[in-house]
Subunit: 426 residues, 4 copies
């Protein structure tokens, strides 16, 4: 087991940890620890809400959650020798939930439209919660019967600190978006917010300055950050752009499993836990590997350990709203329709609306961009592995893919089909 | 081999076939053939452009293409007993390119911004073309060196005829979109167009009426249609909603392979060919299986025969334009950035811009919705299988996932690591 | 579709074809056709028994089969320029059953102990037969209910002609084995047999000479031959050693599907059909690629198109006979036990002995060498994909892999688990 | 993390542990701990040799190893309520190497023919050793360059205690085998051996009695035991027959990875470590699930987490010895030949004999029973994933699976292929 570079006591909030982490992005947040390239280390993480969610059967905690301290992150880790323009290569060696007794659980929240929202918040505006019990590779929930799946664990959020310039770019563009509709609920974007900001060991006037500039952690951006990519799992290798001296790598928002899109907002199976990483540098790598265009992003290699599900039911969606409004090549609307179509189907299998919504958000479902050039409709498809269900979910009242002849009644002992002349193709 | 219900001579355009197909959607297009549920049959198809593209090294044909007769479709096939509200179950039994000598090829076109456009048409406004040679399961191209991949053949377009009501809904919403910017190039959507309409055997005033109402075939819609879903391949079973008496199933736009999104517009490997299908009915199935919500779509089961690629390089994108404009949860912009990031990387491997663009459009790449709730940024990831390349595409100048100890120099014959006390986790 | 180099009329036996094939191995059997390296071509094949098996419900044809003309092969194909020491590279481009109406079927035979036998012939000494209907990628049988699987089509038998020297080696060693127990039923091996030999166009004294020397086609040998490797499927590339001028490639015994081991003797789904191949030469390749040791064999690369099954039930066997006799590192006995254990289990799912035996022989089950060094027991495991069954086959009366907490009754609305101090591993 | 039921200090041999385990099989070895069905727990294990192998570059330890105390096992665990005839359901929840600093390594030994031997001991009679460094999911070795693969961790040995009757059966049959050639080196089987026997807490006359009867742990038997099945990995569920009150489950011989067959004897990557298990009972399950025939064995379900390798090079072997002796349907000889053929090939890629031998023994290679009915030759195939190599291992001097047309030189800008009449199949 590699050395632990960042420790947390899961019973305390991040601000009370011996070495606190942070919950905003800013280049001037001091490093919490440092390491050399070629080293492996362990990082411990709180759940992204700073421990606000309980393992119980009430969703009050989700409804009343305070999002201002989210996400609490572990780090930054200073990588010695890293300079802007380098690539920081990060191997994900291992991860998992905490090891204490009674702590192998996670949760999924459907957030209230008034407080956080979610992808389908117009349809499902109220708070709900499911608790997942984690046992070995598998997750099950007392709130979602007859479902059991293998977890593809991953950090929902990981990335290096932005430079001052990049941070300014982010603030500029997000504020411009907010300004188009400042009163929207939920808001279009989240500006810097000093309230409940945690900036490592910063205090005093330096805290004030940085807290006023630092970006929220909710969206993914050019550094990676909150990408919520479910396949960024154990065994993956990630190539991160480096923007500041020492790279300042931070992470958090550990997920035991997530469906593509994480649609219920905290739609993954959220957990505290640990993550083991190894780091290397490619000096000057950003230039060499084409990572200098304005909206470049990290690149990664998939792990060679992957879930094996082979039977999938696929739902499609196009870019038309329920009120028959036509959108132009809009994958977001199309994905929304695919999700709603899937939920409608799962309801015919005996699930409630919220259970179906949560299944799509947490199980290893795949959301695929199918067509994006056939004006005006984008098409997205949603793949649900049917082996995760312990009840039938495939239409049962049609013949299986059986050959025609086999359906006919046959008199035993009597030839059924006369052998006739055979012709070859062509 | 099942009976051929729809024949074409690939040397003639669709309007000159003995029984012509159609290139618009309308419930009153007469059926070209009929079949009973429980029957298998073969359908022959022209390429979607009615044979306008040549196997040569010039992209003039792409540049000058006439899109008004596209897509030419084979059908409609009347399924006896099918009624609105039923589900038509379609098994894809087989498909392939034509079998004549010298005909195992397909093409990929980057369409001109002035004539068709494509997903990245602002960046790549000029016409380009790649010819693919098809041999057994594999495709290669003299225009894209060192690339070879297994084809996941599929019909880009398949679906039943809409009802009059549904057709009216489509026309209404698409015209409303067009009206927001009628002069845009390329246009926002395509209204009904009598010019070069082909409506089976319809002629005279009935032709005039229907041609004035019938929808274009470009976008996918509630019936399926031009979904361009690459996994709708041999061995899949599709559940189509039925809107008219007899279902009136049509299909075309056969692809030898396609990347998720078909980003260069005719970004797949386009081909003429045949497709073998079997059909069944689930009476009243739409209600039973939740296919009655306004924007429902077909559902399908994946085939149990699938490509096997295991090493992937993944590119990410978020919903920010190159000019730093922030979009709100916009998967389309995010996918655009993921594609551009991937192209930038492939250029560092020696490919031209257009080759890289075509690789992403044709090879079995996956486009995944990663995050869609982290305001304001959607996140999309693009998975490229690295085994399709015959040149190195993984960064070569970092250590592989090798253990630290193994990197140290060792004196042969001498113990390297002293055995020390072992501690177990926990 | 490539040019057909070898044609058959499936309604006639091989000896009556215009250009007859052969059913023995010998370097002096004249080539039936020739081709250049770098060429693709089609070969048509009869079923291995020369058409003796009928699509009916009686196993009399299996019981009374004449094995002397088996296997009938298509070829030899002379590859211009091929010389001993070269490697003949063969790409399998496509294959399938005949295309005539009513001909998409195959059969599986449990051979009588008195006539052919099989792997478990002591347990199942009587003849049985199952007819399989082939539809697209899938096979089903009216004789094996609730089973449906995707076919991995492959030629059971393919290889180049042996040299005179190699042929002599084969005859020598097989006769030596026969001599140890010449009266055994079934026999230990099959010596040259002029009766019903078919040697292409050879006649007269040359026929007599060659028929007296030529090897039977039943066993696989150094040239490949009847290897019955189920993964030698469409998309595979094979490297064959060349022993004679022109290579003289022959093939037959096409299978729609087969379980590892083909345990019922003609345990695959046997069919007539076609196979499309392409050939290349590596001059002097045998030396270069290590194919010169005495018992070398062909090498092949797997296809990138493969079946997708993910849920498997696995049965084990060790090298001990039912009478408690201990064998020394005997994989054969171990595999026998694994098969018998699997059959015993499938009987608890409602299958008859013979149905279970046939399922293991035909479905895409995997037989794996697990341990071969743990004296005195070899261990083999047999993997059965559970998704091929349309009835439950997994033990139903144990909890699924569910977490412990989720099994407890919970009072709705009340917290179930108190959040306590969390400890991290290590 | 579940409660640890069996602890070891890896710095001490098993006999010095606080609660010692055992290294023989006997029903009267006292349980080391007990548990209830429905409980999860952790077991710690020493490496199978009791710590005799060092992490250094000399194979002296392998050469001089004392095999009499092998394998040291953790257990037995008494499962409350288990009775003969039940099935003990065991879920493998997690496993891994010890977590102490510098302890993430394992070893592979080619055993000397004079002391242990191995599958190819006639060819490779001398002792060799490779040390593997384990980092996250991957293993690499300073002794095997350019190889890196994902580990499929598994317990080589796990099973319940035999009854007195079953034990007597084992002793009887193994002694009968030994008696056929008592002086063989290596021996045919290993009789009970009191020397260095460890029987938990047994001492005195009871120790004497049990040590004289107890079976060695080397071979797998009806209870499972040393099966060395590489896919018995994390996420698997095993159904074990129960023979004694309390089941008395034991385990050890943890492997980080292993090729099918574990051919170098301790051919896996051997390690100490921990394993987390959960247990359930199916009362009377042996009868219900067909586990009562004389040579039945455990059954298991595969995990849904599996390695992803897609490009394989496959080697074949038949049942003929190097001296051209023909064996009758002998999978063991066939597997031997497949292994030797693979080694010969890997030598052409720059590996030494021993490196190639070790690669086949440790990497996730698959050994498949291909044909077992084609008298007299069994056929086995060995699948090597080519992605584990960091140097080229596929023949490079043949065209890839490229279409013929694409190989021709083309004049840019000029049409290459005239479009001619297309014919459809059939």
């Amino acid at each position: 087991m590699p050395e632990t570079l960042f420790k947390v006591d899961v019973n305390k909030p991040m601000q009370e940890q011996e070495v606190p982490g942070h919950n905003r992005w800013h280049p001037d947040i001091p490093a919490a620890a440092s390491t050399d390239p070629g080293t492996d280390f362990r990082i411990e993480c709180l759940d992204w809400t700073n421990g606000q969610v309980r393992n119980d059967d009430s969703a009050d905690d989700i409804r009343d959650i305070d999002l201002t301290p989210c996400h609490v992150l572990s780090g930054p880790i200073h990588v010695n020798g890293a300079e802007p323009g380098d690539i920081l290569v990060v191997d994900i060696l291992d991860m998992g939930p905490p090891s204490g007794p009674g702590q192998q659980w996670g949760y999924t929240g459907i957030f209230s439209k008034q407080n956080g929202g979610g992808f389908l918040t117009d349809v499902y505006p109220d708070a709900h919660k499911a608790i997942w019990d984690l046992r070995g590779l598998y997750a099950t929930s007392r709130h979602v019967p007859d479902v059991e799946f293998v977890g593809i664990q991953h950090p929902g959020l990981i990335g290096c600190a932005p430079s001052h310039d990049l941070l300014a770019r982010w603030n500029r563009r997000e504020q411009a978006l907010i300004d188009t509709n400042p009163d929207r609920v939920p808001p279009l974007a989240l500006p810097p917010l000093p309230q409940n900001a945690l900036l490592g060991t910063l205090t005093g006037s330096e805290f004030e300055r940085v807290a006023g500039e630092a970006c929220r952690t909710i969206p993914p951006r050019e550094h990676g950050g909150n990408c919520d990519i479910k396949d960024l799992t154990i065994g993956s290798r990630i190539y991160f752009p480096v923007y500041v001296e020492g790279a300042k790598l931070s992470m958090g928002d550990l997920h035991f499993s997530q469906g593509d899109g994480e649609i219920t907002f905290c739609g993954a199976i959220e957990m505290a836990g640990y993550i083991d990483l190894g780091v290397e540098l490619i000096k000057g790598g950003m230039e060499k590997y084409g990572m200098t265009r304005p909206t470049h992003m990290p690149i990664f290699e998939l792990s060679h350990l992957q879930p094996r599900y082979s039977s999938f039911l696929v739902f499609e969606g196009v870019g038309v709203s329920e009120d028959n409004t036509q959108h132009y090549l809009d994958l977001t609307v199309a994905y929304r329709q695919a999700c709603l179509n899937a939920i409608e189907y799962l309801k015919t299998c005996g699930y409630t609306d919220e259970q179906a919504y949560i299944i799509i958000g947490t199980a290893p479902v795949e959301g695929r961009v199918s067509g994006i050039v056939d004006i005006p409709n984008a098409c997205v498809s949603l793949y649900i592995p049917t082996e995760i269900f312990k009840r039938p979910v495939i239409p049962q009242d049609v013949p299986s893919r059986v050959a025609r002849e086999a359906r006919l009644p046959h008199a035993p002992g009597e030839p059924q089909i006369n052998q006739t002349r055979v012709e070859f193709r062509g």
